[in-house]
């Protein structure tokens, strides 16, 4: 079925668009297969407004007489309103939006049609790969190897083709260990700490089940990780109670008796439905202007979002502390190993590793730890906070990550090479994008859809000089030290730039940010000029 068949009314004259921070505009509305296009009638300077249909989370129709009003709530939390003359036109448009905003078939989505003139499909896709990551870390070559046991995705459908594992463990053992882990996600290396040679591993839960099954190969694999060291830590991002309960459904945890050198730490990091509900409550509270102070604070508390941020940061801090301060390797996992596991390991890497804190380093980290490591973006980001659809697999884990990174940026404004604008852009792109990067749920699905040939890569696009200017942190100063965030509740803040993005106050702050950028650029030029003159004169 062609997309155009969903469009009964393609053009509406005399529609009115109301969007936050702008005066209402009257003009022509167009619906295409992937966009809403609105052009106002200002003769002198016509304004166009383009909205990706995928960005629409929910719509509400209201009819009054012969005209109708559609309220559009976007996944980037913007709320728009369209007044459309003619009841039938209005209903047609609403129906088109409803269908076209949640297309299920990947190959119909916009990234497959997005062809900007300044970018080409032949451009390089992606920044990082397991092999590249491995080759950058020469220190670990004598104890670790790249295994392509998963080259046809048969061992683990959600892992990339290549993974880094201990040298002593051969591929047959990996296959067996994978059978003992949920979804085949056997322990693989995700971070090597140069300072002391310790590593972060991640996996999914072991399938010990109610009758305490064991797997010799899995035990050997973990033993090989701490080879030469006295112990390691396992950070289970579930409470010990949850881990116990998981045994009833075939999951479980590494018991003390079978993994004697590993010390288990339980920290409950929320994910899944609870996190989605938390986001919904928070956005609801931010969208209601009639609350008084007490009501707002109680809603904020009730949403628990900031508690989740606090837990995530402190668990990541704990992980980093194990590696950097205590000098031991760590295995981190939850149940599936595709959500909070990735969240914790990513934040910990940002805390410890200065290479991850540059603009390129951060994007490469996201690509490795989220896209390639199999965070199911398409399922998790199908809907955002406004949707009335029944919750399925939606969960804003990636958004929580960005919030945690923002808290880091807030506490260490000089240590990160990228700006808040980048985090906002990523938060938007993860939910609706012209690029292929966040499509699909795993490396396997992406290779089936041939994304790297048929769509453009967001990360590459963000690194182009023009874009880089907006997303680099003008005050960045590299520090080799670990950046330990404070996790006192008083130190954490609501990410106003995101949750209150469409308010006048957010604009003032943005202006101030822009001011910083301009000042720094001016001073740098000035400094260069002075240095140049100095050079000439001496």
């Amino acid at each position: 079925m062609e997309l155009s068949e969903h469009i009964k009314t393609a053009n509406v004259e005399d529609a009115v668009l109301r969007q936050p921070l702008h005066p209402a505009a009257r003009g022509t509305l167009c619906v295409t297969g992937h966009h809403l296009l609105f052009s106002d009638r200002e003769e002198s300077s016509p304004q166009h407004f383009l909205l990706l249909l995928r960005n629409i989370d929910a719509i509400e129709k209201r009819m009054s007489g012969s005209s109708g009003t559609i309220t559009i709530k976007c996944k980037d939390l913007c709320v728009l309103q369209l007044d459309i003359p003619g009841m039938e036109q209005c209903l047609n448009i609403a129906r088109s939006i409803e269908t076209l905003s949640c297309l299920e078939n990947v190959s119909e989505m916009y990234p497959f049609f997005y062809r900007p003139s300044d970018q080409s499909l032949k451009d390089q896709w992606g920044l990082s790969s397991t092999e590249k990551h491995y080759s950058q870390m020469t220190d670990l070559h004598d104890r670790w190897r790249v295994s392509s046991v998963n080259r046809d995705y048969s061992v683990c459908p959600t892992y990339p083709q290549a993974v880094i594992v201990p040298k002593d463990i051969n591929d047959e053992m990996l296959v067996k260990a994978a059978k003992f882990r949920h979804g085949g996600r056997f322990p693989v290396l995700c971070y090597y700490h140069r300072k002391n040679g310790m590593v972060i591993m991640r996996s999914s839960q072991p399938l010990t089940g109610a009758n305490r099954k064991r797997c010799r190969e899995d035990e050997l694999l973990l033993q090989a990780v701490i080879d030469g060291s006295d112990k390691g830590y396992i950070i289970d991002t579930r409470s010990s109670q949850q881990a116990q309960q998981a045994r009833m459904t075939g999951g479980g945890f590494e018991s003390k008796s079978c993994y004697s050198c590993w010390k288990r730490l339980h920290r409950q990091v929320e994910r899944g439905k609870a996190l989605q509900e938390s986001l919904i409550k928070l956005v609801e509270a931010c969208g209601n202007d009639s609350h008084n102070m007490d009501r707002w604070l109680s809603k904020l508390e009730n949403s628990k979002w900031l508690s989740h941020v606090q837990t995530a940061l402190s668990t990541a801090g704990l992980l980093a502390e194990c590696v950097e301060r205590d000098g031991h390797s760590v295995l981190v996992h939850c149940s599936e190993g595709t959500d909070s596991t990735l969240l914790i390991s990513t934040v910990a890497q940002l805390i410890m590793d200065p290479c991850c804190r540059t603009l390129e380093g951060f994007l490469a980290l996201l690509e490795r730890e989220w896209v390639q490591a199999g965070h199911p973006f398409q399922k998790r980001c199908a809907h955002s906070a406004y949707s009335h659809a029944r919750l399925q697999q939606e969960s804003p884990v990636f958004l929580l990550l960005l919030d945690c990174v923002w808290q880091l940026l807030h506490q260490f404004p000089l240590a990160l090479g990228f700006s808040e604008a980048l985090l906002l852009r990523l938060a938007t792109e993860a939910y609706a994008s012209s690029y292929g990067t966040f499509l699909c749920n795993s490396d396997k699905e992406r290779s089936v859809a041939i994304l790297s040939m048929k769509t453009l890569c967001l990360f590459q696009a963000l690194l182009r000089p023009k874009e880089r200017r907006c997303y680099a942190n003008p005050l960045y100063e590299r520090t080799e030290l670990a950046i330990w965030p404070s996790v006192h509740p008083q130190s954490l803040q609501l990410w106003r730039g995101y949750f209150l993005r469409w308010t006048q106050q957010a604009r003032h702050l943005e202006e101030a940010q822009e001011e910083i950028r301009n000042m720094v650029i001016l001073w740098e030029k000035m400094f260069e000029y002075v240095c140049f003159n100095f050079f000439m004169l001496s």
Binding site: L318, D326, Q411, V487, L500, H508, A512, V530
Partner: protein, 606 residues
């Protein structure tokens, strides 16, 4: 380390690093002796600038001595004992005199365009006869004759009759202030009615005057029983009466106490913090004050109407609302000098009772209340919403707050101008404003844009609840672990300084090609707002004769003032979870290591 008590300061010197911490006795809000532990006798000192210091003193007898000395020292009985009278920053009399002349309120009223054809200076309070808590120079409508003034003052609580505090030249609208009328249930006063009439007539733009009673209606009603109350709209022609519902000093005091209790809790969880923030009501009160100021601003700038503001006595809520309103209306008050003028005018000269509210002398604890702190916080909330509108940064506000309580300068001593004259403060103490002005560089806001102010002369802040934040740098100024480790402000100032140096260097190069100075080109460290080291130069002799208490232990986290966090993280005491011991500890556990220093050797005891 070693603890020293002097006549004015408590000084702690760490024996390992020679770092010293000094606390002014006037800053000490409370001293508490906790029960004896194995390491010694703990002493907790809470300061008015929200610093909390824990000492552990090994011998109980020493601890008791320190405790009782501090109790005596922190609460002087007479003004002469205050630090301001002994503080000497090595200035001669002329410099001191110039310092006091920095702020001239007469010139300020002239700047507003007063006196003019409708407003005049009156000398009725020349000898503080009509109202002893008002300044000598007062501005009233031309048509308000002396009998009207005197009559009106008799009908107002504490004689505080309606006078001009801000004149909005563009619309000739006035902001006036007074105290509540002594109306009881039915009393009237014709002079007072003509006074309001005169204010109304002085403004041709509007047919009526707003009368803002900043109290909740219930409080105003209750006051009627005591023969006070509020204006009856039937008796006053052309007024529009409005309650705005800011709570009284007692509610505010309790609210801040609750807030500090919550934020002072160890291992505070996010939920408890937010619930505590809500139940303290602190931000609700802050919002109420900003809301009232917005109401005032809209009436004056929007409708061009004059407004009369009062509460009960007209020196707490009235001061908050008038000053905050003026700040919203007039960009001048958002500059460093202008902000000083504003405080001098609406707070100092109009008789906000600093001595009572800040507990300068051993007074009635029921009179103590963080009214001025609230005002500073309201201003801070505005600076957060309008980063480009203020010439000063947060550190300016913090520094003012510091010195309101330090009693190091004469400005805030006493309760009113009359008392200050009796104390001869101008001759015997120094002015804070001169000191702050000399350090102006440290308080500049790098984002300040006069062009933005020209574009937006009147600020229209949003008071939607999510725009109010907890002011961490005020209430946790000394908790190093809580602050951002790196500061944008500091970096920007450094960069700007560098570029200025570069600029001037370039000029030097162009003028004289003297190459000798060029070594300085690159990096020049910029001083941020370091605390003014208050070295007591005179009268250092302690009451107890330089009592030395050895073998102290001090908690690491609270000891050092951090204006800006350091970028390194070595000093961090906070941990995310204990790695040794029990692993089920909840969340991140802040476990400041208590270091017991024995004969200068540190030994971890925790």
């Amino acid at each position: 380390g070693t603890l020293y008590l002097t006549a004015t300061h408590l000084i702690f010197v760490e024996s390992s690093s020679n770092n010293s911490t000094s606390i002014l006795h006037h800053h000490i809000a409370s001293v508490e002796k906790l029960s004896l532990t194995t390491t010694g006798c703990p002493l907790v000192i809470q300061c008015r600038n929200f610093r909390v210091v824990h000492f552990v003193i090994q011998r109980e007898r020493d601890c008791h001595d320190v405790y009782s000395s501090l109790l005596r020292l922190r609460q002087p009985v007479s003004y002469e004992e205050l630090y301001a009278f002994s503080y000497n920053p090595k200035q001669n009399d002329q410099q001191r005199e110039e310092g006091w002349q920095l702020i001239d309120l007469g010139a300020e009223f002239e700047r507003m365009g007063v006196p003019c054809d409708q407003w005049q200076l009156t000398d009725v309070n020349r000898d503080y006869k009509v109202c002893e808590t008002y300044p000598r120079d007062l501005y009233v409508p031309i048509t308000a004759s002396k009998p009207i003034i005197v009559g009106s003052s008799k009908f107002r609580s504490k004689g505080r009759f309606p006078v001009l505090t801000y004149f909005y030249q563009e619309k000739k609208a006035a902001v006036c202030r007074c105290s509540q009328p002594l109306s009881g249930f039915s009393a009237r006063c014709l002079e007072d009615e003509s006074m309001l009439q005169a204010i109304s007539k002085a403004n041709h733009n509007s047919r009526f005057v707003y009368v803002m009673d900043t109290r909740p209606k219930l409080n105003a009603l209750a006051n009627r029983a005591a023969g006070k109350g509020y204006e009856n709209e039937d008796n006053y022609s052309n007024i529009r009466f409005q309650f705005v519902g800011i709570e009284n000093i007692h509610v505010m005091r309790t609210s801040l106490q609750k807030l500090l209790e919550v934020t002072g809790t160890r291992s505070l969880s996010m939920s408890d913090y937010l619930v505590g923030l809500e139940s303290s009501g602190w931000l609700r009160h802050i919002k109420a004050i900003v809301d009232a100021a917005i109401f005032l601003t809209k009436a004056v700038t929007g409708e061009g109407a004059s407004v009369l503001v009062h509460c009960s006595d007209g020196w707490d809520r009235t001061a908050q609302v008038c000053s905050l309103g003026s700040l919203l209306m007039d960009p001048y008050y958002r500059t460093i000098k202008g902000f000083m003028v504003l405080i001098e005018k609406d707070w100092i000269s109009f008789g906000h009772k600093f001595a009572d509210r800040c507990d300068q002398l051993d007074g009635d604890p029921k009179e103590v209340s963080p009214i001025f702190t609230q005002f500073l916080e309201c201003v801070w909330q505005l600076t957060e919403q309008f980063p480009q509108s203020f010439e000063f940064s947060e550190w300016f506000l913090l520094q003012i707050h510091e010195h309101v309580h330090s009693c190091q300068y004469g400005n805030f001593l006493g309760n009113n101008q009359r008392q200050r004259e009796e104390l001869q403060l101008r001759d015997r103490t120094h002015s804070l404003w001169a000191f702050l002005m000399s350090e102006k560089q440290n308080y500049l806001n790098p984002f300040y844009s006069p062009a933005f102010s020209e574009l937006h002369p009147v600020l229209e802040p949003s008071t939607l609840p999510y725009h109010f934040k907890f002011w961490r740098n005020m209430y946790h100024q000394f908790d190093r672990s809580m602050h951002p480790r790196q500061s944008i402000l500091k970096t920007i100032l450094t960069l700007r300084e560098n570029s200025r140096n570069g600029e001037s260097m370039l000029q030097a190069l162009e003028n004289v090609s003297a190459l000798t100075e060029l070594q300085q080109l690159g990096v020049t460290p910029v001083a941020t707002s370091e605390p003014p080291a208050p070295p007591p130069t005179r009268d250092q002799r302690s009451n107890d004769g330089q009592e030395e208490v050895g073998e102290e232990a001090i908690e690491g986290t609270d000891t050092e003032r951090t204006v800006e966090g350091s970028s390194a993280t070595e000093s961090r005491k906070q941990r995310y979870g204990e790695l040794e011991g029990t692993y089920n500890s909840e969340l991140a556990k802040e476990e400041p290591a208590v270091v017991s220093l024995e004969f200068g050797v540190a030994r971890m005891t925790c």
